[in-house]
């Protein structure tokens, strides 16, 4: 009976609330500067959408703006989902696929979600801003944007719906045998306490090297070998999970594992050299779909991919061994755009992958640039800077922001649990939507700043025109 009422309530909300929201008359709304006004499509940018919802949003945008958007599936994911792409330009002028093209994608790493929302925001902004934002109108006249909100729709949903931390699964969904026992993906993470996130496990232990912070029950303090401690000691037991396959190890064969961003065809290296590589370049269907699309669109001259986190604007080379590919003239152009980005996105730093992050082969940005000659940036979205607009004491800031800005919504308090292998333990910690994914109240800002950075890049793509014609009799 109760569930029937719930269903009725859900139906009411589902059917009528959107109507109420859309029922607002434009005359009741005062325009905020820099944001499209009187829009055909309304989208909330303080939440995250799964792959089906993203597909629906892109369809809404395309349906509402048939003269500005062509929506196309560029391929199927491993589990058979369409990878939707929006080709956005002013179709009333010029030959669309011969305009300089700017490619944007998000979410190559499944848990690095907000790139998809930035893509949707960009598509929404271009289409809704076209009518009265002159910059957008001009841009759409002689540029085309190819926007793919998620190039990893399967694993995006896995991140949202299955047992995950903020950093998992990262992989795509092709099952692989990680522990060499001939079985694939048979011992992944488990959400033991059912809070929707995989948090941490800890256990009281006389020899543990952590104690509780007396001032903050969420926090653990690490102790050194010389510290004299009278408080109860704890040991960390890793991410929530059990030994599903009975081999004596916990969580050792999770979904995948491979890294879709080690799968690209520039200076690709196999797994023993570059951990995470799959079988050969573009052996994952999703990256293959992007590669096929890009190869079929030689008009693409600029590109952007979105990851998280850390607040970085990254350029290649990914690998120290590939320095020679990035010539000086091109680096000057990268620098000009990257430095502008630092200014537009406070807290973000313009960095080079191989020397500032790690030295890796087979990344997307390297194939775009090395293989296709396309200037490409990868932004690592969200940084703790955003909470208090400074970089002071980052590790403390997380706890403070969780409590004061997010009102305690992002932490599962430690609670006892009986573990089949470890016995009496406690489970708790930051939820998966904290730390990497931008908190709701900051998301629209993140979307806008990153979008204008791509506009700046797109605006400076080469665009040949005949300036002047002189005819001289010989």
């Amino acid at each position: 009976m109760k569930s029937l009422i719930n269903i009725k309530l859900a139906l009411f909300i589902f059917l009528f609330v959107p109507l109420l929201m859309q029922g607002q008359d434009v005359s009741d709304i005062f325009r905020a500067a820099g944001t499209p006004h009187d829009t055909k499509v309304s989208i909330a940018f303080n939440r995250y959408y799964n792959s089906e919802a993203l597909a629906e949003l892109s369809k809404k945008i395309a349906d509402a703006h048939p003269d500005l958007v062509k929506r196309q599936s560029i391929g199927k994911s491993f589990q058979g989902r369409d990878i939707w792409m929006l080709a956005i330009t002013d179709y009333s002028t010029g030959d669309a696929d011969r305009k300089p093209g700017f490619y944007v994608d998000g979410n190559i790493h499944s848990n690095e979600v907000q790139g998809a929302e930035i893509c949707i925001y960009t598509a929404w902004y271009l289409t809704e801003g076209f009518k009265d934002i002159e910059y957008v109108k001009q841009m759409m006249k002689d540029r085309i944007f190819y926007i793919v909100p998620t190039i990893n729709p399967d694993a995006r949903n896995n991140y949202f719906e299955e047992a995950n931390t903020g950093s998992s699964p990262r992989s795509g969904m092709i099952p692989l045998d990680d522990d060499n026992d001939g079985k694939a993906d048979e011992d992944g993470l488990d959400d033991l306490d059912g809070d929707g996130s995989v948090t941490q496990m800890r256990r009281k232990s006389d020899h543990g090297n952590f104690i509780l912070d007396p001032q903050d029950p969420r926090k653990m303090i690490q102790i050194g070998p010389d510290d004299i401690v009278t408080a109860q000691r704890y040991e960390f037991l890793g991410s929530e999970g059990i030994d599903n396959d009975g081999d004596g190890r916990i969580n050792e064969d999770r979904p995948g594992f491979y890294d879709p961003n080690r799968d690209w065809g520039w200076k690709w290296q196999p797994d023993y050299i570059q951990r995470g590589a799959l079988r050969y370049p573009f052996s994952a269907p999703e990256t293959r779909a992007v590669s096929d699309f890009v190869k079929a669109h030689p008009n693409i001259a600029g590109a952007q991919s979105y990851h998280n986190s850390g607040g970085m604007i990254l350029r290649g080379p990914g690998a120290a061994e590939d320095i020679g590919t990035y010539n000086r003239a091109d680096i000057r152009i990268y620098d000009a755009i990257g430095n502008k980005g630092q200014e537009m996105m406070p807290g973000y730093r313009y960095l080079t992958v191989y020397k500032d992050l790690y030295s890796v082969f087979g990344g997307e940005l390297d194939w775009f640039y090395g293989g296709r000659g396309i200037y490409t940036f990868t932004n690592e979205l969200f940084t703790g800077y955003a909470y208090y607009k400074n970089n002071e004491n980052r590790s403390e800031t997380r706890y403070k922001a969780e409590k004061d800005l997010l009102l305690g919504d992002a932490f599962t308090p430690w609670a006892p649990y009986k573990h089949p292998t470890y016995g009496d333990i406690e489970i708790g910690g930051f939820k998966k939507n904290f730390g990497r994914a931008t908190p709701g109240f900051l998301l629209e800002e993140e979307c806008h700043r990153n979008m204008v950075f791509t506009f700046y890049h797109a605006f400076h793509m080469p665009h040949l025109s005949v300036a002047k014609i002189n005819v001289k009799p010989l």
């Binding site: 050299i273 050969y280 370049p281 573009f282």
Partner: protein, 538 residues
């Protein structure tokens, strides 16, 4: 489709006597397809013939599995031919090895599964059988080799109408080539440091169709299989493809190989050669992140294989290994981690000494002399003057080595090469790694406690994992599992454990304390070395 296949079989049964290996010449795609189908149906209990993909030229990439029982349950050798489209011998030898195993050596299937891929370049090898012959290597994909926006706009022309593409020499003091002293038919590069000056330009036969100053730089086809793999991929080089493994052929083969965890070794017939002469270990290349040298332990294995090979196949005058980057053999070792072997399969021996001729180091001339001594005809097209519109005021002659001949012997010589390589294969399989339980001991310690001790031994002359295979995630470690009944308990030791590698003739001792009565089941193995199971009474 089914009717077609049936008709094909019917025709092959009626027209062909059972002995398909008695054919007279290299086989084109249709003949080979027909023969493979006939072979597979004659030995249907031991074969599985499957098309992995259709090439851009609409030809099948055939995979023929030879097995007995369950294919994946036994260690496997993959044999790959046609990696280079000009090497039709490789196709023939691969196919004939399959035929030979099934007709003369079926016993090999008791311990080994064979995955046989006769031709990875069927679009290209067809050029050998076409009216106009040239050493084509690329597939049927449209490519823009000179990156000018036009596809396939500047190919060869048969200027002297002899139905084959050879060379053109143009008399020109600015040219870099001269005639070889020992034989003016042969053109060699002039070396000014040795006081030599060029007298000719040397180009492939044809015209500059797109008038860009280059000759025949963007003809039909395509991507070269043996340049399209991921090790040391030659970016932006003609024939390589846009990125590694960009073609249907290479993807289909790799997808198939990755799905067979029982593959231990790969034998390639092609221009790479690590059998007459083993790959050399180079410490700095082996210790870099991107490994460019065979690893130390594997170099030793290569030496052993090479020794075995050279006892059977004479290595004299064998060509040095050829690689242009992106090669299949290099991939099979450096990226796939398997025990990798490659050989051209045949080469002309040195000509017999002839006091009337000056000895030469020139390989082409030695080949011509050998051919003459052995009645191998039609190996050289004599230079003949032609009128060439791109060189209106110069003397242009067309001629040179007849395509294909240096790598592909007259068909009568193929039989011997096949026999020798089948002998080598049998010798190689005798060295195969395996796991065997030895010296099993169970001791009762009282209170229902038992100590089990057993040696896990590799009786082979090869290790269970190459050093490279040990690094690769695609070669499974040896899994050791002790399965208990409900009333039993492991007190010490692990129910499940992994062993990285057991060296050749090496042993790993295993021990457990088990409490309980009855018997336990012990299993050890990996798909590429086989699996052993024993029941142990407590």
């Amino acid at each position: 489709m089914k009717i077609k296949l049936f008709l094909l079989l019917l025709v092959s049964c009626l027209v062909l006597p059972a002995k398909t290996w008695a054919q007279q010449d290299y086989r084109n795609f249709n003949t080979l397809t027909r023969d493979l189908s006939a072979l597979a149906s004659r030995h249907s209990a031991n074969t599985d013939l499957k098309s992995l993909a259709k090439t851009p030229g609409n030809k099948d990439i055939w995979a023929l599995t030879l097995y007995s029982g369950q294919a994946q349950d036994k260690p496997a050798v993959a044999i790959v031919g046609g990696v280079d489209g000009s090497h039709v011998l490789g196709v023939e030898m691969t196919a004939r090895l399959a035929e030979k195993i099934l007709t003369d050596h079926k016993d090999l299937l008791e311990k080994t599964t064979f995955y046989i891929f006769p031709n990875m370049s069927p679009d290209a090898t067809e050029q050998y059988f076409n009216a106009l012959k040239y050493e084509r290597r690329g597939n049927g994909a449209n490519t823009d080799d000179d990156r000018d926006g036009d596809f396939g706009e500047d190919g060869f022309e048969d200027l002297n109408k002899d139905k084959r593409i050879t060379m053109m020499r143009i008399e020109d003091p600015t040219g870099d080539y001269r005639m070889l002293e020992e034989d003016p038919r042969i053109m060699v590069k002039a070396n000014p440091a040795k006081g030599e000056v060029g007298t000719h330009k040397l180009l492939t036969e044809g015209m500059d169709n797109d008038k860009d100053g280059h000759f025949n730089e963007d003809g039909e086809g395509g991507v070269i299989f043996n340049k399209n793999l991921s090790y040391n991929f030659p970016y932006f080089k003609p024939g390589a493809g846009e990125h590694p493994v960009s073609q249907k052929e290479s993807r289909a083969l790799l997808d198939f190989l990755y799905a067979q965890p029982n593959i231990y070794s790969i034998l390639t017939f092609g221009p790479a050669n690590n059998l007459t002469k083993p790959m050399k270990y180079n410490a700095s290349g082996a210790n870099k992140r991107v490994v460019t040298s065979i690893l130390k332990g594997d170099a030793k294995l290569n030496e052993l294989l090479s020794e075995t090979y050279n006892k059977i196949v004479s290595p004299k005058n064998a060509p040095a290994s050829v690689t242009e980057g992106g090669g299949f053999f290099e991939w099979s070792y450096f990226h796939f981690g398997k025990l990798a072997m490659s050989t051209p399969g045949w080469w002309a021996p040195m000509p017999a000494k002839d006091t009337t001729q000056k000895e030469t180091k020139n390989a082409a001339l030695n080949f011509l002399r050998w051919a003459e001594q052995n009645d191998v005809n039609d190996v050289f097209v004599d230079w003949k003057e032609v009128k060439h519109p791109d060189f209106p005021n110069q003397k242009v002659e067309v001629g040179g080595m007849v395509p294909f001949k240096q790598m592909n012997p007259p068909y009568t010589m193929v039989e011997e090469a096949v026999n020798k390589h089948s002998e080598f294969l049998a010798a190689f399989l005798k060295m195969q790694a395996a796991v065997k339980f030895e010296n099993l001991k169970t001791e009762s310690l009282g209170d229902g406690m038992n100590r089990i001790t057993v040696d896990l031994h590799n009786p082979g002359l090869l290790p269970t994992h190459t050093e490279m295979g040990d690094r690769s995630r695609w070669m499974r470690q040896i899994n050791v599992d002790l399965k208990l009944a409900n009333n039993q308990k492991i007190v010490s030791g692990r129910g499940h454990q992994l062993i990285n590698v057991i060296p050749q003739d090496g042993t790993v001792q295993l021990t457990w304390l088990v409490q309980g009565k009855g018997s336990v089941e012990l299993t050890a193995g990996a798909p590429h070395v086989g699996t052993e199971t024993i029941r142990i009474k407590l």
